[in-house]
Amino acid sequence: MIVKPILSRRALVQGAAGSALLAGIGMPAISRAQSDVIKIGHLTPRTGFLGPLGDYAVMGIQLAADEINGAGGVNGRKIELMLEDSVNPQTASAKAERLIERDKVAMLIGEISSASGLAIGQVAKRTKTVFINTGCNSDALRGSDCNQYMFHIEGANSMYVQAVAQYLLKENLVKGKKWYSLTADYAFGHDLLKVAKMFMEKNGGQFAADELIPTDISDFSPFLLKIRQARPDIVISNLAGNQITNFLKQYSEYGLPFPVVGFAFDTAVAWGLGKGNFSGVWPLVWHHLVDTPASKAYVETFTKKYGKPPENQSWGDYNSLKIVAQSMAEMKSTDPVKLAEHFRKGAKFDVMKKREGYFRAYDNQMMMEMYAVRAKKAADMKDQWDIYDALGTVPGPDDDLEVIAPPKGACNMA
């Protein structure tokens, strides 16, 4: 027999609250204490709509740590990673503080959400700790919110827009064309929309409409119906993470005929689509088809270790740690202030691209090549990883790396 002594309808409402709580719980931290090691704090979202990308970030930085430690460490000291799920800006900020003050990490690497990146950047500034941002695209982080301890190996929104811009112009999809955009409703998306508008307006595009899409929405059908009514010439995705997967799956379901272009992208979200769902031209900071010896070697070791190829997010976290280890070994010091100085003096780094990259002293943004890719036709895809063709590289071989960088003006390091 079933008897319920204290049961009430309230339990149900509590249940609704509990289910909301469920969405806000992060991954447990993994860390092992050891003496005489160089501790590096790594923060990235492991849950939520950016979680899939965070997974690649962790794979990337772990591979880098394994390689560095396997080769004897930095000046004889091993790297020890303190991995944390950054969850949201509040948690990211609290965890960044804890890593710095309690765990005494030498520096911070990581993050993907521009909102959390801003929070970590503020902690970095206050505690004078170097933070290398590996996944936040907002121009504002390189502009009004910049500071001398926050470095960006991830491309800025401006750079991403530039990466696809020349293909849009070449294929005559800007001038006099009506564009409809879907934008992730948080710091990153708002920033990207601003940059996208600037580019489209400068080149004679006609703005039809924009929809701000909450990050936790998975049904895009109301927006697809609106796009269909508006009959634009081009649909632009300013979305992020799982949003892109949801959007593309349903865009192909509704069979809308307008060409799709993205101003931000991660390969993992397209690998998670399924046959016949992928279309469009998309920008990337790096992809597994980049044809350089370092890039090929990285794809090979990564695939051997994890059983799948790396994508752009793992590139960022892998290269950040490699750059840090290389710099610390050259300087024979782990002093964060010296590390920041070394970066800001224009030290050049091999980041698996044709040309070496360097941090620009004005905003600490890595100056480097960016790429665009075009979705393959379903029939041409050989396996689940073979989803796009490389379109090309910006800037061109004769142009200065800075031509695609965010415009100067807003950043004041002092």
């Binding site: 079933i2 049961l7 149900l12 469920l22 997974d55 069979g255």
Partner: protein, 291 residues
């Protein structure tokens, strides 16, 4: 013209409501009969989607549409027998903690086995394409989804309201002591309801797998909205849940049209309003044990 677009969004909202319904129905049944607030309900939806990915290569989409919900139902039976059953008599906070833990274990389990990255999965090419009715557009797939859901909901209704099994279940919801006094043990009924409830969630997982991102946390994503549906619909009323699910779908569709950033908040506002004026929900019955 404007009116046509609004009608289109309303019709589309009804479609959205249908998949809230599949999740919410099981949630409502399990709570009404066993008093368990099943926070792991979304996890069963996620498991359904992952099973669809695993099974489709072997038995096709149609096969997995049948097999995956059955498998999820079997998991439901095990969970009921070995976990839920211990908590019918205890403080609801305990079962809340239990299912909260289950949800986390399921999510992390999926993450450990399949990774955090979304799994690729596409609809069978036979279901691709759209129907155009005047100005309206309906993908074949959503129409198929709608018909499967309608069949599932109708069968559930027949089971609850037209069979001896359903009579015992409904009596058990209203007055478990009396059912016990009549010499009927509710335990096997509870087991069947758990299997049915989570099986429906599994079915919803398979149906949505081709059109949403398949990732470990997908269950948590849909669960809160399903709870809102149950609260708005009210306990003990089958049609309450149906009406609430469709209402939530339409409200969400319309706010997406007029004020997209508020589309998520709109359903909570709706819940707040309903609770203010009708604390038992739209069609909630007065049930002794919940008062």
């Amino acid at each position: 013209m404007e009116l046509i677009f609004i009608i289109e969004q309303v019709l589309n909202g009804l479609l959205i409501g249908v998949y809230y319904l599949l999740i919410a129905l099981g949630l409502s049944l399990i709570f009404s009969l066993g008093g368990i607030v099943n926070l792991a309900h979304g996890a069963f939806y996620a498991i359904g989607a992952y099973l669809a990915v695993l099974l489709t290569d072997r038995i096709g989409f149609a096969g997995s549409l049948v097999a995956a919900p059955v498998l999820v139902g079997l998991i439901g039976i095990a969970v009921e027998r070995f976990l839920f059953r211990r908590f019918y008599r205890s403080d609801p906070i305990l079962s809340l903690l239990l299912t909260f833990g289950l949800a986390m274990i399921a999510e992390q389990g999926l993450r450990m086995i399949f990774g955090a990255s979304p799994l690729p999965y596409a609809m069978p090419s036979a279901l691709r394409g759209q129907v155009f009715v005047g100005d309206f557009i309906y993908p074949y797939y959503r129409l198929m989804m709608l018909s499967v859901a309608v069949v599932a909901v109708t069968l559930t209704w027949l089971l609850l309201y037209r069979t001896p099994f359903g009579r015992v279940v409904r009596a058990g919801v209203q007055n478990p002591e009396m059912v016990g006094a009549l010499g009927i043990s509710l335990e096997p009924y509870m087991m069947a309801i758990a299997a049915l409830g989570v099986g429906l969630a599994g079915l919803c997982g398979v149906l949505l797998a081709p059109i949403v991102t398949i990732h470990p946390a997908m269950g948590a994503e849909i669960l809160t909205a399903a709870f809102v549906v149950v609260v708005i619909g009210g306990l003990g009323s089958f049609w309450g849940v149906v009406a609430a699910a469709l209402l939530v779908g339409v409200v969400r569709g319309l706010t997406s049209y007029f004020l997209p950033p508020a589309s998520e908040a709109s359903i909570y506002l709706l819940m707040l309003l309903v609770l203010l004026f009708r604390p038992r929900g739209l069609f909630g019955e007065r049930i002794q044990k919940f008062e």
